[in-house]
Symmetry: D2
Subunit: 337 residues, 4 copies
C-alpha cells in the first residue's frame, strides 16, 4: 500500500503516522521529493482500512498495490482449487453442466427434467425452492416442499442437487442439499456468507448484478475466512446501459477471475441472456474463454413455467446444446463431468 | 399491458390466449392490422408475469403500461404519506435530519455525538450496530452492545434512533429501535422485507447501488403489501462509470420518486459523496430538488472512526452545515423537524 | 408503433390525432378500454419521431414495435451481407483477421509488422496515421506520412489496409485506403457518416464506448441510407462500472447484431482487453460467439510503441494466437481469409 | 507518478529505467522493500504516457498522483476564470441563463422565442442550426439558414447567441456566433477541439454521455492548450442503468469540476430530464450545488417542435421557472446576468 502525504505535512505528524504503521507490523519505505512524500507500506496490508488512513490530516491519497483478499487470491494459493461433489469435479481441466428449472414446481416436472438433463449430459440438477422475486406478487417458490422434490429427483437419478438459500436461518433445511447457491442479490448478505463459512458444503456464489470482480472475491473471502474452502464462483451477467438484453454477460470476468483466484468459475448464460436463442452463443463463448462449467435453465414445458420461462430451454433444445458442448469440451481438451 | 402477437399467429392459438387472459378477470381489446395484431389487457395487470406471457409461441413482445406496484403508487394513493415517529414527522412539508456516526463505537462517543447533533438541529440519531462491510477483515460493529449504547443515547437526549438491520432473525433485538434501516445491499433481501411488512415500525429503505427506481418501489411494495405502511425511501447514490467520486447521487430520483409514489424520500449525501467536502453541495441540491430530509454521517473524531471516517463530518462541520440547511429549509417554506 | 392516450383525452383531439397519422400514410387500429385507449400505428413508422408524438397533450406514452432502422435491419434484408475487399471476404462463413500496430511509426516498423502478420495469417494490415488521443500531450500520429507508409507496406506485402479517419475533410487523403475505419469516439459524428455514405469504400464502424446496439445500427443506417452498402460493424468493449479491465467486451452484441442485422460483425479484443494476456481468451470467445473476424493490435516492439503498447502483442505472440485461431476457425467450419 | 516494479526486476533493468526517466527531467525517489520496489517520479508528469511505461517488462503497475491536465487544473490556475461575452459574465459569483429552442425552425419562431426569453430574464439565446440526430430520418436542422435566423434574432433583441458546431470545416460560418457549442457526441472530436483552440471565441463544451469528469477536463485541455482560454463546461446528464429518465444529471460533477478546475460550469437540465416536468427540480438542484448557469430548451409551441419537443418548456412555463430561479439566485448571493 502506498500512502501519499500532503505537501505541508509536518515532521512530527509524519513520524507519528510512521510509528502507527510500524505498530501494525508493517515496514515503511519513506520517499521524499520536492513536492511529494510517499510512504510505501510493506507487510500484511489486507487488514488495513484505506478509508481510515485517508482521514489523517496529512494524508492526500492511499493506493492499494496488493489485492484486499488473501484466501481467495492466487498469489497466496497458486494451484487451482477443484471442488469435488459426489465424485463430480468442478475446476480446471474439467467441464461441469448444472441444469434444471428456475423453480421446482411439481414431482412430475422434477422427475421428467432430471431424467432428461442427465441423459443429455448434465452432472447436477438445479431448481429453486425459495425464489427471490422482484415483485411480491410473483410466485415465491414451493419452499420446503421444493427441497423435498429436489431430493426425490436426486434419489431417482443420482444427480447431486444445487439450490438457492435465502437466509442463514435455512441451513438446517439445506442439510441434504449438495451445493448451496448464493444468489446475485445476496452476494453481499454478509451474515449469510459468514454462516456459510462455518458449514461443510460447497457454495456456488453468484456475482451481483452490479458488483465488481474484486467485490465478488471479497465475498468469497468471507466464506473462505470462515474455514469453508469449497467455493465456486459464478458469472451471470452484469447491469449496464444496454437495454436490448437482460444482462451483459461479462466474458472478461472468466479469464480475470482465473488469473486473480484459484477458485473454479462457472457461467450462467440463461440469466445473462434472458432469452433462449442467446443461450447457445453465450455458452460457447464462456467455454472458449476458459469457464469450468455452465448453469443452464431447462424446463419440460417452458410456456407453463411459473418463473423465467422466456429464458428456459425445453428438453430437446437442451439436448441439442449439450451435443454441441460435448464436441467443444473435447476440442478444449477438458473432461466433461 | 399490451401483448404484440407474431405475424403468423393462428386463429385457434389467438382465441386460446384471449380466453386465458379473460379467465384472469382481464378485458381484452383486440386490434388487428395487416402485419401486427395487438391485444390490450385491461384490469389488474400488476399480478401478471410478463416473462410467462412471453413464452407463448405466438407472442412477439409484451409491454407494461401501468406500474407493476400498487400500494407504493401515487395513482392508487394520491395523498402524501407522512411517517410520524415520536412526534417527528417525515414527509411533505417537513424536513428531517438524521445524524450520527457510521458505527456505534463507545458510550462516550454516542453521548457526545447525540448531544451535539441534537443541539445543531438533528431530529434523529443514527449509528450502526451491525455493519455490512465488503471485507471480512473490517470492523463488523459492536452488535448487541451497539444497540444498547444507541438506546442509552436516546434516553439521555430524547432523540429517536435509526439503525440498520442485517437479517430477519434480529427483529427481537430491534424491539426498542424507532426506525429500522434496510441497507443498500439488502434492498432485495426479500425474506427480510417480508418480515418487516409484518412489524409495526417505520422502515427506512435504502436504494441499492445498482437498483432502478422501479425496483426500489417494488421492494417498498413488499413491505407495504405485508401491512406496514410506514416506509421511508432513501436515495444514497448509484454506481456508474464515473470513478472520481464514491457513488453518483441520483438527484433525479427525488422528483421521480415523489411523482410515482406517495412515500417520503430522504437523501444520504455522505455515502454518495464518500468525502466530507462534497456533503454540503449535495445536501443543498437534495433539499432544492424536493427531498423530505437528509441522513448525514457525523463523528466526534472522524480520524479515529472505525468505519467511513473519510466521509464523516466532525461536530463543528455538522453544526455549520445545519446553520446553512436551516436557512434553506425556511426558504423552501418547509418545517424543520 | 403504439400510442397510449391519457384517460381524459377528448373525442375531438383523438380524432384529430388519428387524422394526423393517417395523413402520414399510416393505418390506425383503435382500441378503447375502460381506462386506456390505445392507437396501433401500422405502416412505415421508421420515419416517425416518438418525441414529437409525446408532446401531444392527450398522449401518455409511445412505444416502438419495429426497429427505427431499415437498411441495416435483417427484417428488410434477410440474407447476410458479405463485404469483399481485394478478393478478401468479410461476412458469414468466413473469418478475417486484421492486424497491425496502433500507430504507424516508421517504414521499418510497418515493413516488419506487415510481413510478419501476413506470414501468421492476417488478411489485412491496420495502422493508425491519425490518432484520437484523450490527452493533447500524447502522440497524435504521423498523419499524411502515416498513410504513405501504410501504402508502401501494402505494396510490399499485398495486404489491403485499414486505417482510421478523423474528419470528412480527409476523404481525398484516404483515396487509396482499402477500408476506412470510423473510431468509437466518432460513431455519432453524423457529418462524417453522411459523407461516408456517398463514397464507394468499405467502412469499418466501431461501436462507441457507451452506445447501445440500436445506436450502432442507426449509425450504420446513416452510411447505408447514403447509398454505401459496404459497412462492417465492430464491437470493441463498452464502459461499465467494472474497473479492473479497460473495457467490457460485450460478447452478447455479436449474436444480437447478427440477429438484428445482415451486416458482418468483427471484434477488437485488444481495445477491450487493454492488456495482452486477455486478448487470447477474448478472441476465442468472440469466434465461438459467431464473430466474422478480429482486429488485433500487433507491434514489432511493444515496449517502444508510441501508443497502446500495453495491449499490443509482439510478433511471436501474434503468431501463436493465429495458430490457435486457425484450429478454431476450422472447428467452426469457417474459411480463414 | 508512482511506478511499482516487479519482484524479480534485475538491477541493470531498474537502473536503465531510472536513467530513462531522468532523461525526461524527472527526479526519481527510489524505495526498496522486501517484496516491492517503488519509483516515485517527481516533475512534470502530465506529459508521460502511463501505458508506455506499463509495457516495460519490469513494471508491475503505474499510478498517477497528479491530474493529467494542467491548463484546466485549479492547481496551476487557482483563481476562477470568468468568461465575458458582450458584457455578460459567466463564472463565479454570477448566474447566466441560456434559453431557446432545440432547433431553429423559422424567423417567426426565433423572434417570438428570443423576445420572450429575454423578457423572462435569459442572457443568451440558443438554437440549433446543425442538429446531431441519432436517426438519418430525423430533421437535421436548417443549417446555414438557421445561423442567419439566429443572427437576425440577435439583432432584434440584442441577445448574444449560442449554437452547436458539427465540424471544424464550419468555422467560417460561425464567424458571427457569440459562443460556439461543442455537443456531447463531439466532446472527443479532437480535430474539432484543436481548431477551436486556435479561434478567439468562447466555447461551451458539453460532457459526453459516458465520459468521465477527467475526460471532460482533458477535452477542455485540448482547447486551452491551443491558446483559447474561454472554455465553459456543461454537465448535461450521463448514461447509467436507470431507464425511467432520459439521462442521469450528475449533480456531483458541479462541485467536483469547480474544485478540480477554474473554468465556469453550467448545467443543461433539459437534456438530462428529457421531460418538462423534471426541469424545474433539476434546475433548482444545479443552482444549489454551485452551478454558474443553466441552458434550457424553450419553444413557442413545443407540440409542433421539429426536435426534442417533449423536453421543451413553452414560453409561460419558462417565465414561471425564471421567476423561481431569480429568487434563488438572490438567495445564493449571486448576480443574475
Amino acid at each position: 500500500m502506498i500512502v501519499i502525504l500532503k505537501q505541508n505535512a509536518g515532521q512530527t505528524q509524519v513520524q507519528q503516522l510512521i510509528k502507527d504503521f510500524e505498530a501494525q507490523d508493517l515496514t515503511i519505505h519513506f520517499s521524499q521529493g520536492a513536492n511529494t512524500t510517499i510512504l510505501g507500506l510493506v507487510g500484511d496490508t489486507a487488514h488495513l482500512d484505506m478509508e481510515k488512513i485517508l482521514t489523517n490530516d496529512i494524508v492526500r491519497d492511499v493506493r492499494r498495490i496488493s489485492e484486499p483478499y488473501k484466501a481467495a487470491s492466487r498469489s497466496f494459493h497458486p494451484q487451482d482449487t477443484i471442488v469435488e461433489v459426489s465424485g463430480v469435479k468442478i475446476g480446471e481441466g474439467t467441464f461441469t453442466v448444472i441444469a434444471g428449472p428456475c423453480s421446482v414446481e411439481s414431482q412430475q416436472q422434477m422427475e421428467t427434467v432430471a431424467a432428461s438433463v442427465k441423459a443429455s449430459g448434465a452432472a447436477f440438477l438445479r431448481g429453486g425452492a425459495f425464489k427471490p422475486r422482484t415483485s411480491p406478487y410473483s410466485f415465491q417458490g414451493l419452499e420446503d416442499e421444493g427441497i423435498r422434490l429436489l431430493l426425490a429427483a436426486k434419489k431417482a437419478t443420482g444427480l447431486p442437487i444445487v439450490t438457492e438459500i435465502m437466509s442463514e436461518t435455512q441451513l438446517d433445511e439445506f442439510a441434504d442439499v449438495d451445493v448451496i447457491q448464493v444468489g446475485a442479490r445476496n452476494m453481499q448478505n454478509f451474515r449469510l456468507l459468514k454462516e456459510l463459512g462455518h458449514c461443510d458444503k460447497p457454495i456456488l456464489l453468484k456475482r451481483g448484478l452490479a458488483n465488481t470482480i474484486e467485490e465478488l472475491l471479497m465475498s468469497a473471502e468471507y466464506i473462505l475466512a470462515g474455514g469453508n474452502e469449497k467455493v465456486i464462483l459464478c458469472e451471470r451477467g452484469i447491469r449496464t446501459f444496454e437495454t436490448c438484453i437482460r444482462n451483459n454477460l461479462d466474458i472478461s470476468a472468466i479469464p480475470v477471475l482465473k488469473k486473480q483466484s484459484h477458485l473454479p468459475v462457472i457461467v450462467d448464460p440463461s440469466h445473462a441472456a434472458g432469452n433462449t436463442w442467446l443461450i447457445e452463443p453465450l455458452a460457447r463463448a464462456a467455454l472458449a474463454a476458459g469457464a469450468d462449467g455452465l448453469m443452464i435453465e431447462v424446463h419440460n414445458n417452458p410456456k407453463a413455467a411459473l418463473c423465467d420461462g422466456a429464458q428456459s430451454l425445453d428438453l430437446p433444445q437442451f439436448a441439442a446444446i449439450m451435443d454441441d458442448i460435448k464436441k467443444r469440451v473435447a476440442f478444449e481438451g477438458k473432461q466433461l463431468q
